[in-house]
């Protein structure tokens, strides 16, 4: 395994590890050729880290896959992809196989799907070794153990199956697989997307350490500028198939020049930066009686073999009228279960939920009346809308369920207006797949608003949306509070989101509420150890962003109502 590292004799001007020259990729479809990448130049050298940022559909993954010619057959590659000075396009099939994994390897996004569920992970890490080197079984085992050690997994775990590992551990396995043949270039495609903040920080640390220790070149792809900034020296921002900005990470993040980079940078706020706080801080909680109150709520699920899983234990919280509360915790902390309990979609095993002082009924019929008061906004707007129903039907659904009298069309138009889908009539007949992600989330919100609720419970409302849309949806939530006096409970793993819009923060850890207070108290002066861990795990704060940079305002939107500063002023 050390042969490769040693035989790299230092010869005179070596070509860069990876060089892309005017790379284009077109997808052939029945509707003609669709350009995904249009003329990209990039270089990565040994020991260098390059971050490629962009929103979904900007062509960043296509570009990464073109390096190893892993593109589907319908894709047409143009330009030059030079790997160690050798053009990937001219490689024979055999040469390409040798180059894949031995010179460059990929850490795929979604470790659960990229691993074979029916084989132990040790076997899977050994697979590239067996394919690329004829070594003895003993040597393979030794190498697998060494790799597991490098990614900080206990060697004993090599016999584990993917489902027995946590998301972070699976991602480590993916990295071990990528390192197996000691490649000099690693392409990491959204390596931390499905992970929560704490695990994300660990994986990023691991990648950074491997790059420095082993002189690797790293091309990292992400939609999250803060992740890239924490891990990469240089950043390239991709937009509609082109690189629109490239430079040292700090420059791109602090003083972005292209409007799209500005929007991307703004979407990942810095906790503690007053500029990214979209609400005027309030010192005290309003002394009105609480709108929603949970007292000692516990939820347990029966597990296999008579065991029980306690998802929520003894949680108490309040949401006051005209207030935005953020419920923060990492995945598995029980925050979604608690939200479902607050909505009456899940019965608590102990404790009670009160709305305006009245205990939530248990019968389905009585709960229907409550559903008009409290509404849900789900994480993934694509899944939350029936693909067969038009926007009109989706928004009118609640009205029809509750048989609300009056002009249905006017009510639907009204709700769409409030969700800022204007003019509403143009959206009536649209189907969800014809809309963008942000528009879909607006339809979901409009569907909730049509019932004129007093409380909105939003479960990760922006987590599956693109960075530039994020700010718009948050501004909408804030404006709804101002215009309609709507209270919102936002459930999120994202502390930046809490800093953006919340009045108060509730931190949840392992089913318990560990800290509660105003945003300034909790995020700037955390008391509980877990809150500190969470805050520390947020990728390197992008502090010192130039004051001249318009924050969170997306410059591509011209409507004056979209300026969040206006909202905060109200």
């Amino acid at each position: 395994m050390t042969t490769r590292e040693q035989d790299g004799a230092p010869s005179a001007p070596r070509p860069p590890l990876l060089e892309l020259r005017q790379v284009t990729v077109d997808y052939q479809s029945r509707r003609g050729s669709v350009p995904a990448v249009r003329g990209v130049d990039l270089t990565v050298d040994a020991g260098q880290t390059l971050g490629l940022a962009g929103e979904s559909g900007c062509g960043k993954s296509t570009l990464a896959m073109s390096v190893l010619r892993l593109l589907p057959r319908s894709a047409q590659l143009g330009g030059d992809v030079l790997l160690d000075g050798e053009n990937v396009r001219d490689m024979s099939w055999g040469r390409l196989r040798a180059v894949r994994w031995a010179s460059a390897s990929v850490v795929f996004q979604g470790a659960m799907h990229a691993l074979n569920p029916v084989r132990p992970i040790g076997e899977q890490i050994a697979e590239p070794l067996r394919l690329h080197r004829s070594t003895t079984p003993g040597a393979v085992r030794a190498r697998v153990n060494e790799l597991l050690d490098q990614v900080e997994l206990p060697v004993a775990r090599s016999t584990a199956y993917p489902h027995e590992l946590s998301g972070g551990q699976r991602q480590r396995v993916m990295i071990a697989m990528a390192l197996a043949c000691s490649p000099r270039l690693i392409i990491a495609d959204e390596p931390t997307t499905a992970l929560d903040v704490i695990v994300q920080a660990q994986i990023l640390d691991l990648l950074s350490r491997l790059v420095t220790e082993r002189e690797l070149g790293l091309l990292m792809i992400s939609h999250d500028l803060s992740v890239l900034a924490a891990c990469c020296e240089r950043l390239a921002v991709m937009y509609q198939g082109r690189i629109v900005e490239e430079g040292p990470s700090t420059d791109v993040v602090r003083t972005p020049t292209h409007p799209h980079s500005i929007a991307l940078a703004a979407a990942f706020p810095t906790v503690g930066d007053p500029a990214s706080r979209l609400v005027t801080p309030r010192d005290t909680t309003p002394d009105t009686p609480p709108l929603l109150e949970a007292r000692g709520v516990s939820v347990t699920f029966p597990g296999r073999g008579g065991t029980t899983t306690r998802a929520v234990s003894d949680a108490s919280l309040t949401v006051h009228p005209d207030e935005i509360v953020a419920l923060v915790g990492q995945s598995g902390s029980g925050k979604t279960t608690l939200a479902r309990t607050l909505l009456g979609l899940q019965q608590p095993t102990a404790g009670e939920v009160r709305f305006e002082g009245h205990r939530l009924p248990r019968s389905a019929r009585a709960l229907r009346a409550y559903r008009r008061q409290a509404q849900l906004v789900l994480q993934d707007p694509t899944g939350a809308l029936n693909p067969r129903h038009s926007v009109y039907e989706a928004v009118a659904e609640g009205l029809r369920i509750h048989r609300i009298p009056g002009d249905e069309t006017a009510a639907v138009a009204d709700a769409l207006n409030q969700a800022e889908l204007r003019p509403p009539e143009e959206f009536f007949t649209a189907l969800p797949h014809e809309l963008s992600g942000g528009q879909r989330q607006r339809v979901v919100i409009a569907g909730a608003l049509a019932l004129r609720p007093r409380l909105l419970i939003a479960d990760e409302p922006v987590a599956s949306l693109d960075a530039s849309v994020r700010g718009e949806i948050l501004a909408l939530l804030l404006r709804l509070r101002v215009d309609l006096g709507l209270s919102t409970l936002v459930i999120t793993h994202d502390l930046g989101l809490a800093w953006n819009i919340a009045d108060r923060v509730i931190v949840m850890y392992q089913g318990r509420i560990v800290e509660e207070g105003t945003v300034e108290q909790v995020l700037l002066d955390p008391r509980h150890d877990y809150t500190r861990t969470l805050l520390a795990a947020v990728p390197e704060p992008l502090t010192g962003r130039a004051a001249a940079t318009p924050n969170t305002t997306d410059p591509t939107r011209q409507e004056p109502t979209d300026d969040p500063t206006e909202v905060t002023g109200v």
Binding site: L345, R371, L378, G383, N386, G398, T409, E425, T429, L451
Partner: protein
């Protein structure tokens, strides 16, 4: 300002467009188109039989003068049976019963299957457990034996055969619908609808049934084929209505009258080919529909 009626009209326009797109991709498949053409021809002929042919020639009394078991000739294109009846006429009229029983039995089994499948998947709990065991019971029961038992116990007739086939064919549909319902139910839009206050009726009518129906529809066309075969089998075994001519009963009479030993191929071949044609064209149409509804199957 758009009024509700025009919204509805636009929705129907959209559905019409979707239907046309579906038809276009159905039309692109040659096999499916051929199946549909054959099927439509057979159905048209079967429906128009009383108009185009002389029903009286089916009665044995009117055909006494004709030669028995005569090979095909200018007068009798497909020869005659042991009673001197035209085999062409018998095959023509036999299509009526075979198609009627096939369609009716399929409708019955698909109805039961869809109901059991949706109810067991949607409600869960003990109801689902009971329904599933019930389905399993029917699934392992040899359906032909059950159908024979049913048609011997009940009075002989077309209705009995429909009932016998319908009651034995539904478990596969139920399993299929249950699986599809479970998939649809896991979608977040079901949760959104529940949070909006939807009850079971709304969920099933607005979200689950529309999500399951395309699959059921494709399954139905495939099920008709097996129902036609089941009808022929039961009639061949002599469990059908003796007064009605079907392809299965024709084969039975052919066997009984010694057509096989006499080498009267013209008596055996037409009903057999009729069954093959109908089953094949239903299968081709069903596969075509499946491909239209599930674009992933295209090009395979």
């Amino acid at each position: 300002m758009t009024t509700p009626t025009s919204t509805r009209a636009l929705t129907w326009q959209r559905r019409g467009r979707a239907l046309r797109t579906g038809w276009r991709s159905f039309r692109a498949q040659r096999g499916a188109l051929a199946g549909l053409a054959v099927l439509l021809t057979i159905v048209a002929l079967a429906v128009l039989a009383p108009v185009l042919t002389d029903e009286s020639q089916l009665g044995i009394i009117n055909t006494m003068s004709n030669p028995a078991l005569a090979p095909p000739s200018g007068e009798f294109w497909l020869g005659t049976d042991e009673n001197g009846r035209s085999v062409l006429l018998l095959t023509w009229w036999g299509a009526r019963v075979s198609l009627l029983v096939g369609l009716a039995a399929t409708l019955l089994s698909v109805f039961i299957g869809t109901f059991v499948g949706i109810v067991s998947a949607h409600f869960g709990g003990w109801l689902s457990a009971v329904l599933l065991r019930f389905t399993d019971f029917f699934l392992v029961l040899p359906s032909l034996v059950l159908a024979i038992a049913l048609s011997t116990v009940l009075s002989r007739g077309v209705g009995t055969i429909v009932l016998a086939i319908g009651l034995t064919a539904w478990p596969t549909t139920a399993r299929l619908v249950r699986a599809q319902t479970l998939t649809v139910q896991a979608r977040p839009y079901i949760e959104r609808s529940t949070a909006l206050g939807a009850g079971h009726g709304h969920l099933i009518a607005k979200h689950i049934l529309p999500g399951v129906l395309p699959l059921v529809f494709a399954n139905t066309t495939l099920a008709v084929a097996s129902a036609v075969i089941a009808e022929s089998t039961l009639s061949f075994l002599g469990l059908g209505d003796p007064t009605q001519i079907s392809w299965g009963s024709m084969l039975k009479f052919a066997m009984d009258s010694g057509a096989v030993t006499n080498g009267a191929w013209w008596y055996l071949l037409p009903p057999g080919l009729g069954i093959v044609c109908v089953v094949l064209s239903f299968t081709l149409c069903g596969r075509g529909l499946e491909t239209v509804l599930n674009p992933r199957l295209r090009g395979r």
